[in-house]
């Protein structure tokens, strides 16, 4: 099994004001995490717990203040911004809470975007886009612009966009926060299905406990620290407790 | 004894009185001469060119450009008093033209034209000679003289007069005039415009005795602006003559 993501004692501090030496707040403190290929992982915690920070760091959108992050064995701190850009382009797919589709592109064109910036030939692009839309069940909506799609449909387009280039890792930051419960669970199931069928690694964050019932592994964050990191058997719903191996110990 | 004192005293008084008187007389005789009478000098100077109240002369003007002689022009000047001059143009190419000066005004008359053209004395007649240099040579009538100084020019002791124009018909605004101390015979002159610019100089070169009077025979006018041209005026045929008024007729008639 190969490790896709390795977070090693990562801390991220932010200055509260313009003076960079004072009032630093730790958004993330000494977090460590290892993710294997093909995992379906949830990062849970209340607002402000550092979920988005952690996802940004893994997604190379942000840099740790200390510690390091390895993506497929590559230390991200050694990468130039240009190389990081390449990494994100090829290896990572993003799904955002606010969908973030390009409003002047149709669904198909939005999905096409990651392939476009990789310079892939248009015929290949067409095939892959059709495939991706099929995967998320929106082939009928391919030529609609986002303003003609419902919230759930938009997020599904976002998911299609995130997987079209078969990245090593798909990061979704609170993907269901703007969806109603029905669409929310549907979305998580969709992502889970893609994870199983296509073998793509998914890491998503949420503060909605209901969604955690469908996940295999939950990393709990509180105030910037990883509280627990537990594996759950994915196809067995157990109301009460958590069965299975406990991987990581809690950190104070 | 008192008698001798009386006589002695009287004698001394008379002696001193006489001595005093003598001093006064001698002193009077020894008073230096007053400033020369500029008016008188100028009047005398004029007589070297205007020997008689009414006269005629011929003047030949030769112009030199960078010392190369241009053609000659001939004129016959008839002057009556100080207010009337008639100049006939005698050169073959200028035949039929004449110039008339009456008081402050001057005209040129051209053949085949029915009216004269008013001109000014300063305008060129030929070369460096202006109309006024030929037709208005009576300085006393046109200028107020003032004695400036006495100085030597060459071998001659000269009075220097500063002449300032006193009427609008005067040729120049100001003239510096050098005349001989002994007889006020003109030696040289410098001519200035209203702006103060020194435009011409003259040297009065040669004189001859005509009818008992010393008259100017030759003068040279120098261009002080271009410095490479000058004109020589040679006078001849100078004689007194009775001139009728109708010679100086302003209107246009066929010449007699």
């Amino acid at each position: 099994m190969n490790e896709i993501v390795s977070v090693e004692a990562v801390t991220r501090r932010f200055p509260l004001n313009h003076d960079r030496t004072k009032n630093l707040v730790s958004a993330l403190s000494e977090a460590s995490l290892h993710v294997e290929a093909g995992e379906f992982l949830a990062i849970a915690g209340p607002s402000g717990s550092g979920k988005t920070t952690l996802l940004n760091l893994i997604g190379c959108i942000d840099q740790p203040t200390s510690g390091r992050i390895l993506i497929e064995g590559v230390d991200t701190s050694t990468l130039s911004p240009a190389r990081m850009s390449v990494l994100r382009r090829e290896k990572i797919g993003f799904v955002f809470q606010t969908f973030n589709l390009i409003p002047v592109f149709t669904a198909a064109e939005n999905v096409e975007y990651p392939l476009l910036i990789q310079g892939i030939d248009s015929r290949v692009r067409r095939e892959r886009v059709a495939q991706a839309l099929e995967e998320v069940g929106l082939s009928a909506r391919a030529n609609h612009r986002p303003d003609l799609l419902s919230g759930g449909e938009r997020q599904r387009v976002a998911v299609a966009r995130a997987i079209v280039h078969r990245p090593a890792l798909v990061l979704a930051d609170e993907p269901t926060a703007n969806l109603d419960t029905h669409n929310a669970t549907q979305l998580i199931d969709l992502m889970h299905g893609l994870n199983r069928r296509l073998g793509l690694t998914f890491i998503f964050s949420t503060h909605d406990a209901r969604l955690l019932e469908h996940t295999e592994r939950i990393v709990r964050l509180c105030d910037g620290e990883i509280q627990s990191d537990t594996q759950v058997q994915s196809n067995t719903l157990n109301e009460g407790g958590i069965r299975g191996q406990v991987l990581a110990s809690s950190l104070s | 004894m008192s008698n001798i004192n009386c006589v002695l005293r009287t004698f001394l008084v008379i002696f001193f009185v006489c001595l005093l008187a003598a001093c006064v007389l001698v002193g009077h005789a020894a008073t230096p001469t007053t400033v020369p009478d500029a008016e008188a000098i100028l009047k005398r100077a004029d007589t070297f060119r205007n020997g008689w109240p009414s006269y005629v002369l011929h003047v030949k003007i030769t112009n030199f450009e960078s010392d190369k002689a241009d053609e000659e022009k001939l004129y016959e000047v008839s002057q009556k008093g100080t207010e009337k001059t008639y100049v006939e143009f005698m050169s073959p190419r200028e035949k039929g033209q004449h110039l008339l000066m009456l008081g402050d005004d001057m005209w040129v008359y051209l053949p085949d034209t029915s009216r004269p053209v008013r001109i000014t004395p300063l305008e060129r007649l030929s070369g460096d000679a202006s109309n006024g240099d030929v037709a208005r040579t009576n300085y006393a009538a046109d200028y107020n003289p003032a004695y400036v100084r006495t100085e030597k020019v060459g071998a001659e002791e000269c009075n220097v007069l500063e002449l300032t124009a006193k009427r609008k018909g005067a040729t120049y605004q100001r003239i510096l005039f050098w005349v001989r101390v002994q007889d006020a015979r003109p030696v040289k002159a410098e001519f200035y415009l209203t702006s103060g610019k020194h435009i011409k100089s003259a040297s009065f070169d040669e004189y001859a005795s005509i009818g008992g009077k010393s008259q100017l025979r030759r003068m040279t006018l120098y261009d002080e602006i271009r410095h490479n041209s000058h004109s020589i005026l040679e006078y001849s045929g100078i004689a007194p003559r009775e001139l009728p008024d109708k010679l100086f007729y302003q209107g246009r008639t066929d010449r007699f």
Binding site: A82, I102, L116 | Q97, R115, V117
Partner: protein, 369 residues
């Protein structure tokens, strides 16, 4: 990359109203400059033609001496065999006619008072054939065939100061070509008003034979050549220049543009104004476009962030905005050009004459006589 252009295009029309406003701004600027430029162009044309038709002609022939030195006596830098030269030129293409001229000066007198004149002597028939008619205030033009009296046209200022009117006489005094004084009587047949006081105070015009008699010379100062169309000037000048060689005197050819000092000054002044205007308009259009672009950029921060997150190179984002700006610019230019031409067309056909039609003292003669 085509997709990016498409993206740029679609982005431009995202906010219809704002885009239309910006296009109107840019288009307006372009159209405005076009219209002003057109107006100026028409003005230059008008001034050019009126300068030429006022007597400057299209081409003038002088001796080279004329420009090398000042004349010592009148016409000593004049053209000797001007009749032959004129005949040679007359045979050329596009030549409508040739008018010989003499420039001279002297004094005029009404018997009591003298004044200075700046005179020209012309062939009235040749002048008329080229459309050069003097602007008469009273009286008539010179008659080339008058047998008796020598006729003269004088300026309005001269008429005033000499207190004469058509029918009265004056005497002219001038120095001949060999330095002698000469005079002739002339009869005033017409009074001219050139529109320039300095000219009117000294203007005199007589016929060529009269001047040749006064100045005792057969020469002329210059030959004025009139063409059928001003646009042919350069071509005719090139054709004529070789035919001027081999003449006993060295002759030079001057095009009207070389001699039209006033025209050149006016043209240069207005061209400078136009450039200045253009800079201002450009700057304003630039600022408003930049404003629009900045607004859209800030509105799309999230979108840009997403694109960057997905791994779009920074340069591509910049190029996208630049493309959008270019699209806006090109569209604006098209709007401007189309709009400007349309407005121009409408203005021209509505018969509206933008001021000032009587800016120049001469009449606006638009077609050759």
């Amino acid at each position: 990359m085509g997709k990016f252009l498409l993206l740029a295009f679609r982005n431009v029309f995202r906010n219809r109203r704002r885009t239309i406003m910006t296009l109107i701004m840019v288009g307006g600027g372009v159209a405005g400059l076009l219209l002003v430029g057109g107006f100026f162009a028409r003005m230059f044309w008008g001034l050019r033609e009126s300068t030429i038709n006022d007597g400057l002609g299209h081409i003038q022939i002088f001796t080279a001496e004329h420009f090398n030195r000042e004349e010592k006596h009148v016409l000593d830098t004049g053209i000797d065999n001007w009749r032959q030269v004129a005949a040679t030129i007359q045979a050329g293409r596009h030549v409508r006619g040739i008018a010989p001229r003499i420039e001279f000066n002297g004094m005029l007198s009404n018997g009591v008072k003298s004044g200075v004149f700046m005179g020209s002597a012309v062939d009235p028939v040749a002048e008329n054939s080229l459309g050069f008619t003097p602007r008469l205030e009273s009286g008539r033009d010179l008659d080339s065939k008058s047998g008796g009296e020598i006729e003269a046209l004088i300026g309005a200022g001269v008429a005033r100061s000499m207190n004469v009117k058509p029918g009265d006489g004056l005497t002219l005094l001038a120095v001949t070509s060999d330095g002698a004084l000469n005079g002739i009587d002339v009869q005033v047949v017409g009074v001219v008003n050139t529109g320039f006081k300095e000219m009117d105070d000294r203007y005199l015009r007589i016929t060529l034979p009269s001047a040749q008699r006064l100045l005792q010379s057969d020469r002329v100062t210059n030959l004025v050549v009139g063409l059928d169309r001003t646009e042919n000037t350069d071509m005719v000048a090139a054709e004529l220049t070789p035919s001027l060689r081999g003449q006993p005197q060295q002759l030079v050819l001057k095009k009207w543009i070389d001699l039209a000092a006033y025209y050149k000054q006016v043209r240069s002044l207005f061209s400078t104004i136009f450039v200045f205007l253009g800079v201002i308009v450009f700057f304003m259009v630039l600022m408003s476009s930049v404003n629009t672009l900045l607004m859209t950029m800030f509105e799309r921060t999230r979108e840009i962030g997403t694109m960057l997150a997905m791994g779009t190179p920074r340069a591509w984002i910049m190029s996208l905005f630049i493309l959008e700006a270019i699209v806006l610019g090109v569209l604006g230019a098209i709007v401007g050009v189309a709009g400007g031409n349309l407005i121009g067309f409408l203005l021209n056909h509505a018969g509206i004459h933008l001021p000032p039609q009587s800016l120049w003292p001469s009449t606006f003669s638009t077609s050759p006589a």
